[in-house]
């Protein structure tokens, strides 16, 4: 058995797919025309049923359309249609792994072996239609014994159509032959059939085959076999795409965050629905905003804004992704209005966690990501050296003091080789950046130090402890003499670590023991 999913007026559905559900329902009842062509003279290339009833025809100009009353006009977006076709494929893939992308707005799937999983044909067709509605499509679904019968039944009949095996010719009989017009080359053949008085599949099926071949060639015989429901062909399975891209091009560039977030939310919802249909999640999200370049401020020669989020764990929840992107957009003002928005999710397998009685309670993963994004909005992403401000610390494998990295904090319980020493050890408080200081020496030993603009006497000093590294790199090399000193302060004795930078020949205070 094969099922065909056909989206009537595909260009219109692709344009409406990102609208909220209630608004989409309203728009479906209104005349909508899709325009294509040069900006000076766009012409109608598609429209929905209310538009046709309002008298709108193909190739009408915008001016002609506007004379037909109130019509919603949308510009055709190839990116929207490509994304819609991918979404349709993802919808079909959630029912069968063998899916053919037959034409824009049409996919055929092989249902062999899925009865036990999804039930009988009628129940399966209903499930497919409901699933497609989640993707924003209003589909015709037809199930038949061969792909072509399913294809033409879906194109010809609205709603759900089940064609039982052996009844193909009978069920297709009432279809007009115009349904066969899937390409411009077939127009001549259909005109000939029309001149013979052949109006529907029944009449075509009843013609004697040999005279049909004599007059129309093998193409005529193929059409007759289609009308009789006798064709047999293998499916050409579509390669499952690993890219989950959704994009939207605004009719007019948007300037406010509210207008942008509305569409952004819909894009992320669609991406997540598609990921969920393939039992996948994302651990990397990319956002690209194309800006209206002609309105750029001088000096900010950017035409797009790009941002990527590497998530510590796979996420499938559109609300979490939306909050992450929203918090970033809130903190970054764009220099020009936004023309197009593109969202791309890198697909990975979802995370499965085995809970354990003895595992420590950890922050809820999705909530934690939002919290960390909010904290980054307060304290910033990184310091002046590019080291992140939020994360888990890690000591680098180098002898250079105060060398550390900050890794993303995942909230996952990972194996650690840290072990508790029997007693606590003296800890250092680091001054970042290390303040310069003046040191008076008595022989080699420091005898007084200027700290916090006060001259402090050195009570005891331990050193010098000489260390150096990166001598092979002139820009990164370092060499220093460290001293641990006890200073007499107004509040008591303070223990500090000072060092002489032997390259700069300057004393610094690294920190205080506390």
């Amino acid at each position: 058995m094969f099922a065909c999913l056909f989206a009537p007026d595909f260009s219109v559905q692709a344009a409406l797919r990102l609208e909220p559900e209630d608004r989409r329902e309203v728009l479906k009842q209104s005349p909508i025309a899709i325009l294509e062509g040069p900006a000076s003279l766009p012409r109608v290339m598609a429209g929905n049923e209310p538009a046709r009833l309002a008298g709108i025809e193909m190739d009408m100009t915008r001016l002609q359309v506007e004379t037909c009353g109130r019509v919603w006009l949308r510009k055709r977006s190839q990116a929207n249609e490509d994304a819609a076709q991918m979404a349709l494929l993802d919808c079909a893939t959630s029912f069968s792994p063998r899916v053919e992308s037959t034409a824009p707005g049409t996919v055929i799937l092989d249902l062999a072996g899925t009865e036990k999983l999804f039930g009988r044909a009628q129940a399966l067709a209903q499930k497919i239609a409901m699933r497609a509605a989640e993707f924003g499509f209003d589909l015709n679904v037809a199930i038949a014994g061969n792909p072509d019968t399913a294809f033409y039944a879906a194109r010809g009949f609205t709603g759900i159509t089940i064609v039982p095996a052996g009844e193909e010719a009978e069920r297709l009989a009432s279809l007009p032959v115009d349904v066969l017009s899937t390409s411009p080359e077939m127009r001549n053949t259909l005109e000939i059939l029309d001149s013979w008085g052949i109006r529907n599949f029944r009449a075509l099926a009843l013609l004697p085959p040999v005279p049909v071949v004599e007059r129309l060639g093998q193409e005529g015989l193929r059409l007759q076999k289609i009308a009789r429901g006798e064709t047999k062909r293998p499916l050409a399975p579509a390669e499952a795409s690993a890219d989950f891209i959704e994009s939207f091009e605004f009719e007019e560039p948007v300037e406010t965050l509210e207008s942008l977030t509305f569409i952004l939310n819909r894009l992320l919802q669609q991406v997540c629905v598609r990921l969920a249909s393939r039992s996948l999640a994302t651990n990397e999200l990319r956002l690209k905003l194309e800006l209206e370049a002609r309105q750029l401020h001088s000096g900010e020669n950017k035409e797009s804004y790009q941002r990527a989020w590497k998530l510590p764990l796979p996420i499938q929840d559109p609300k979490v992704l939306f909050r992450l992107v929203y918090l970033d957009l809130e903190g970054n003002t764009q220099p020009a209005p936004i023309r197009k928005i593109l969202v791309q999710a890198m697909a990975v397998k979802p995370r499965y966690v085995q809970s354990g009685l003895f595992n420590p309670a950890s922050p809820e993963a999705e909530q934690l990501e939002i919290t960390l994004a909010r904290i980054r909005g307060v304290v910033g992403n990184a310091d002046a050296y590019g080291t992140p401000c939020v994360g888990s610390p890690r000591v680098l494998d180098t002898h250079k003091p105060d060398s550390f990295a900050v890794q993303p904090f995942s909230g996952l319980d990972e194996e650690s080789d840290s072990s508790l020493p029997p007693t606590p050890v003296i800890s250092l408080r680091i001054f970042r950046p290390a303040p310069e200081t003046n040191v008076e020496l008595a022989g080699e030993k420091p005898c007084s130090i200027t700290l916090h603009k006060k001259l402090l006497r050195v009570l005891a000093a331990s050193g010098p402890w000489r260390s150096s590294g990166n001598w092979w790199d002139a820009t990164a090399s370092w060499t220093r003499d460290e001293w641990d000193v006890a200073l007499k302060t107004t509040e008591g004795v303070g223990f500090y670590r000072i060092y002489l930078d032997r390259i700069k020949n300057q004393w610094f205070v690294e920190g205080g023991f506390d």
Partner: protein, 234 residues
């Protein structure tokens, strides 16, 4: 039946819980890893606000206690350190045995934000408390000027105390002087005694902890446990 028993029975008939003794649930705590402090305070109380104070100019040992506490807490909990002045030393923490996988480090004051480091620290603490899931939250304010921390209104400490009260988390503030007053469940004040030098080498700190306030265990006036902490290189 005695008249007292009759009276009691008649009251209980109207108000069943009139004579029920309310027992506070046993408060859990996180050990600091320093026996002398833990034996007196039973550790840092969870669901309460704790202040660890000590001088910033002179060495007091508050950072040593904080890192020892983090080392103990990260064995069992996820912890967060809100570092108002970016003075945390990962090398010292590693030597003390802190499990970095379970530690979230927030470095405040590193960008040109409109908010000052202390405001960033308080806002971050708020977010982390709301987020939940952390067993210990340490807010290090000790490098900030004392006059700034002193200006924090009492309502802020009260709010933190009320929020953490409902959570299974300990909230610890490091500062130069205590500010939370009665909002704090435990206040520790630390200072150093003369250190031990072995020839030319600083080998040991001698610390003294004073329990200024404890909600759970009433401190004795003379309780000032002293303890020694060796240096990392001994």
């Amino acid at each position: 039946m005695s008249s007292a028993a009759i009276l009691r029975a008649s009251i209980e008939a109207k108000i069943p819980s009139a004579f029920t003794v309310y027992r506070r649930p046993e408060q859990k705590s996180i050990p600091t890893g320093i026996f002398q402090i833990d034996s007196l305070t039973a550790g840092i109380p969870m669901s309460a606000l704790t202040e660890i104070c000590g001088s910033e100019l002179a060495s007091s040992g508050k950072t040593t206690v904080m890192i020892s506490l983090l080392a103990q807490a990260t064995q069992k909990h996820f912890c967060a350190l809100v570092d108002a002045n970016d003075s945390f030393d990962p090398s010292s923490a590693l030597a003390a045995g802190v499990n970095f996988c379970r530690l979230l480090w927030v470095r405040c004051g590193k960008n040109q934000s409109k908010l000052k480091p202390m405001e960033q620290a308080f806002k971050t603490t708020d977010m982390l408390l709301q987020s939940g899931g952390f067993g210990l939250l340490v807010v290090d304010l000790s490098s900030l000027p004392e006059r700034l921390v002193r200006k924090v209104p009492l309502t802020t400490w009260f709010r933190f105390s009320r929020v953490v009260e409902k959570q299974r988390a300990a909230l610890v503030f490091l500062s130069q002087k205590p500010h939370a007053t009665s909002c704090a469940g435990l206040v520790l004040h630390l200072k150093t005694n003369p250190a031990v030098w072995s020839g030319n080498l600083l080998t040991q700190f001698r610390l003294e902890a004073e329990i200024v306030r404890s909600r759970e265990k009433k401190p004795t006036q003379s309780a000032k446990p002293g303890f020694s902490v060796p240096s990392q290189w001994v």
